[in-house]
Subunit: 213 residues, 2 copies
């Protein structure tokens, strides 16, 4: 792997685990097995490195739902099913990066960094909003609170996976249970959210897809 890339990936993992201020440049250098000075040589400063991490790693969730919006062969509910599974998939693939993003959003310094992250997340939000809006417009969905419905979708996943310890406690799992490696948990979250969205969005009717516990 390219040396710059090694540094960025190492930094992402450490920032994700211990936060920006909680991670020293020396740790990153050691983790990436490069000389300390190489980091400033390549990135200029620790803060620039952080920006590079966000820029580089956010590529894999930038505008991922945009073509889904314009798709005409799927119902809006089917689209939301895909959104659910796709978001879960990404969360499981790179939880450290999601932790990093949401943690940075909750901090009050580095406003320009917050702004950049908010813009990245907002793009996907706008896509989801369009899907729900179309569903309401066509009569497929109930007239729900669009923004908060999306907050529920994203918030459920984030909340559950923001901490291994908390997740284990909530789900009453043993210490060797790794939520980010559990295919069963993935499916469980997926099913819960799909059920939830159906009962919330679809007009009262014989409920489908209800097979729980």
């Amino acid at each position: 792997m390219d040396k710059r890339e090694t540094i960025v990936t190492t930094a992402m993992n450490l920032f994700g685990q211990k936060g920006f201020e909680g991670t020293s440049v020396r740790e990153i250098a050691a983790g990436a097995e490069v000389n300390l000075a190489m980091i400033n040589y390549y990135f200029g400063s620790k803060e620039n490195l952080f920006e590079s991490v966000v820029e580089y790693k956010s590529a894999f969730l930038k505008g991922i739902f945009e073509e889904l919006v314009t798709n005409t062969s799927l119902s809006q509910m089917e689209k939301l099913d895909i959104v659910v599974d796709s978001y879960i998939e990404r969360m499981f693939q790179n939880p450290q990066f999601h932790h990093l993003l949401h943690r940075e959003l909750s901090l009050e310094h580095r406003p320009q960094m917050k702004e950049a992250i908010a813009e990245i997340l907002l793009r996907n939000f706008v896509s989801l909003k369009a899907i729900v809006q179309n569903g309401i417009g066509s009569g497929e969905f109930n007239n729900v609170d669009i923004e908060l419905t999306i907050a529920t979708l994203i918030g459920t996943i984030n909340h559950l996976l923001i901490s291994g310890i908390m997740c284990r406690k909530i789900l009453q799992k043993s210490k060797n249970f790794n939520p980010y490696r559990s295919k069963k948990l993935k499916e469980r979250i997926s099913e819960h959210l799909k059920n939830l969205l159906r009962s919330h969005l679809l007009k009262a009717s014989p409920q489908k897809n209800k097979k729980n516990i």
Copy 2:
């Protein structure tokens, strides 16, 4: 106010805004208008101060739903309504502290601190679980995924209020909109969650409480 208390409150606000490592002891001393050495005099170390903050400030959300569980004059749905409003109220009253708690949960160092925080949050989780469980047992509720339903409830609120910037963008509000000061937002979240929980938990029937936008 007591001097120890001033330090704890100042520390909580700064930790909440800028994180533990992002806040210096000197900043806390300046904010609390006490001499730098007083902090180590009272608390021994910065980390001890952090533990004091969590311990002291978590009093106001420790076991808040426990008597609700044993209450017999309310339906389980009515209890959940109270849970929703109560949790929103606390979140709005002290968002900094919630940020601090959830941020610390997402970090991988200081495992004993994570453990302590997880235990605090778990107590309330257990209460909510009992309420939903009772509802299912009595036939009032559908046979939903209990743990994930609670994760949805808490996760929606957390996600929406974890960042002023993100909240403004999501809700398309102007820069001078302060989500933590908006009574309207409070009511909006409350109504969304109550609707959501009703459609998810209650057996299919003419839906109540549906007055949206």
